[in-house]
Amino acid sequence: MTSAVNFTAVSRLFGNVRAVDNVTLDIAPGEFFAMLGPSGSGKTTCLRLIAGFEQPSSGNISIFGEHCEGLPPYKRNVNTVFQDYALFPHMTVGENVAYGLMIKGMARAERDAKAATALEMVKLKGYGERRPSQLSGGQRQRVALARALVNEPKVLLLDEPLGALDLKLREQMQEELKHLQKQLGITFVFVTHDQGEALSMADRVAIFNEGRIVQAGTPAEIYEKPRNRFTADFVGSSNVLSPEFSKAHGGPNQWSSLRPEKIRLKRQGEKPDTAQASARGQITSISYQGATIRIVVLANATRLVAALPAADFSAREGDLVTLVWARQSLVAMESG
């Protein structure tokens, strides 16, 4: 099966800076694919390479098997939802949504009908006559989505589309986007720096750092089996343990990752079994986070962060405690 989007050894240089550095990736048709990374990691440039706003300095990009070399954005069957929406201020919402159809030369009645349907799909029925300036951020976001989807693109590109929304609205839009994607079966390529967003929405996630993909996989693979310190730290938080510490505490003789929530305090009189490992140390700080309490424990000169249920927590700073975790929670990484 041809992939929806294929990158083969793609690099994009800006002067001497390798914004995208030898990236190879395959996005399957109908997949919800997230590109996750800090700002400046090359994820947005990758998106712009797919859209056609940038051309690769080397390597090949194809969209549904079609080579994209030299193909301008207006000849690609992909559409973009821009970070700040990029709605046309001199047009009504309806005209914005119908813009792509108008450019294609579709008759007014037909494109108006399609635009109305698209607005209904994003729950903005009856907003067609308004101006973008009269809408809230969340509504503009939906207009941008409708404007892209009405063209029935093969691939929809979303550039941090939820970045400007407040938390509640963002969670709501995450759900709706995911639902829309399932319903339409279009390939979504989603750029974000929010790891929670990427994990909760995407079928597959690629972690970007310094222009390269450091790891790609399903959200569970990324979270449970980080391959390097960058992924372990960037996706959730993690205790990255040296080979020596790992070996001494029931893990492999390799750099390892131990998620804070996999750690618990040893109960009084409890005897850890062979499937478990433990470390004893002093609590150096405690911070209350609502559902959990994060403590930092210094054990054998190694700093361990544990996230514990807040409900039955009673220790104080300075207490000596024993931390317990299942051996299998120590995940071997390729590098530190």
Binding site: Y74, V78, T80, A86, M102, K104
Partner: protein, 304 residues
């Protein structure tokens, strides 16, 4: 002293309205009394009339002076001036747009600095010097005639000058000459607002239109041009109204037929017909009012 100043700033901090009021007082005085006041005085004058016999101004309310505007001679002056202002504006817009477009979208760094210098520098030299220079350039003995003769193109100049009504004995004594000088001196006033408007068009809107399938020509027509249009209107307000009111350019370069500005100058001076001069100066204001209303109706300010 310091204490007084301190107390003063405390008062201003507590009552920001007071500070605003004090700061606004001089400009408001200027606008309302000096500017609007003289305008109203002008308006008032236009409702008086000149007694044809004695040459004395009759200070009684009448529309008679406005009636005189419709006399064939005055009507010709108005039509001539409006036609001139319109063609100058149109020409300025056509010439300015590509220049502004280049400056806004492509020029960076030194090129941009040079652009600003090239556009602004003519504004630094005296207006009269420029017009007299143009008179020499356009004169029968001037450089244009000389170049045309050298290139064996004198027939072209002759053909242009023999055009009915806009032609004349030489470029400097024809409407063509007046038009060229107007376009030259007002061009910066068209370039700068259009350039500012084009710079304000966000790059991502152009990307969005390309993303939605618009080729560069379509993107220009549907996004860039509509968004830059308020700039064109702003520029045209300058070129149009400056041409409507100017009395020096047509005096120096052009034929002997009057434009509104010259007529006003003559009427309030030698002829002493202040009421008609006032009524004639109201004409450009009314025309500008209509022009702005039409521009608004056409949606020129929608993107503001």
């Amino acid at each position: 002293m310091a204490q007084v100043l301190g107390r003063l700033s405390d008062t201003f901090y507590r009552k920001p309205g007071l500070l605003t009021f004090l700061l606004m007082l001089p400009p408001v005085f200027w606008i309302v009394v000096v500017y609007v006041g003289s305008l109203l005085a002008l308006l008032l004058q236009s409702f008086y009339a000149l007694d044809d016999f004695s040459g004395v101004i009759i200070r009684e309310f009448t529309f008679a002076t406005y009636g005189h505007l419709l006399d064939p001679a005055n009507r010709d002056i108005i039509v001539r001036t409006v036609l001139m202002a319109s063609s100058v504006t149109l020409a300025c817009a056509i010439i300015a747009f590509p220049i502004s477009y280049f400056a806004a979208r492509y020029a960076r760094g030194t090129t941009k600095a040079l652009f600003y210098l090239a556009v602004m520098m003519p504004l630094w030299s005296s207006y009269l010097v420029k017009i007299y220079a143009w008179k020499l350039i356009l004169a029968k003995e001037g450089i244009i005639t000389w170049i045309a003769a050298t290139l064996h193109l004198s027939w072209l100049i002759d053909a242009i000058l023999s055009l009915p009504s806009i032609g004349g004995p030489s470029l400097s004594i024809s409407y063509i000459g007046t038009f060229l000088v107007f376009v030259y001196i007002w061009l910066p006033y068209m370039i700068l607002p259009i350039q500012a408007a084009l710079e304000r068009v966000p790059k991502n809107l152009i990307e969005a239109s390309a993303d939605l399938g618009a080729n560069p020509g379509q993107a220009f027509r549907t996004v860039i041009l509509p968004l830059a249009f308020p700039g064109v209107i702003a520029g045209s307000i300058f070129t149009f109204s400056l041409t409507l009111g100017d009395y020096i350019v047509p005096q120096i370069v052009g034929n002997s037929r009057l434009m509104i500005g010259q007529a006003v100058y003559t009427l309030q001076g030698t002829a002493g017909d202040i009421p008609l001069a006032a009524a004639l100066s109201v004409v450009p204001m009314v025309i500008m009012g209509i022009y702005l209303a039409v521009a608004k109706r056409l949606g020129a300010f929608d993107a503001l």
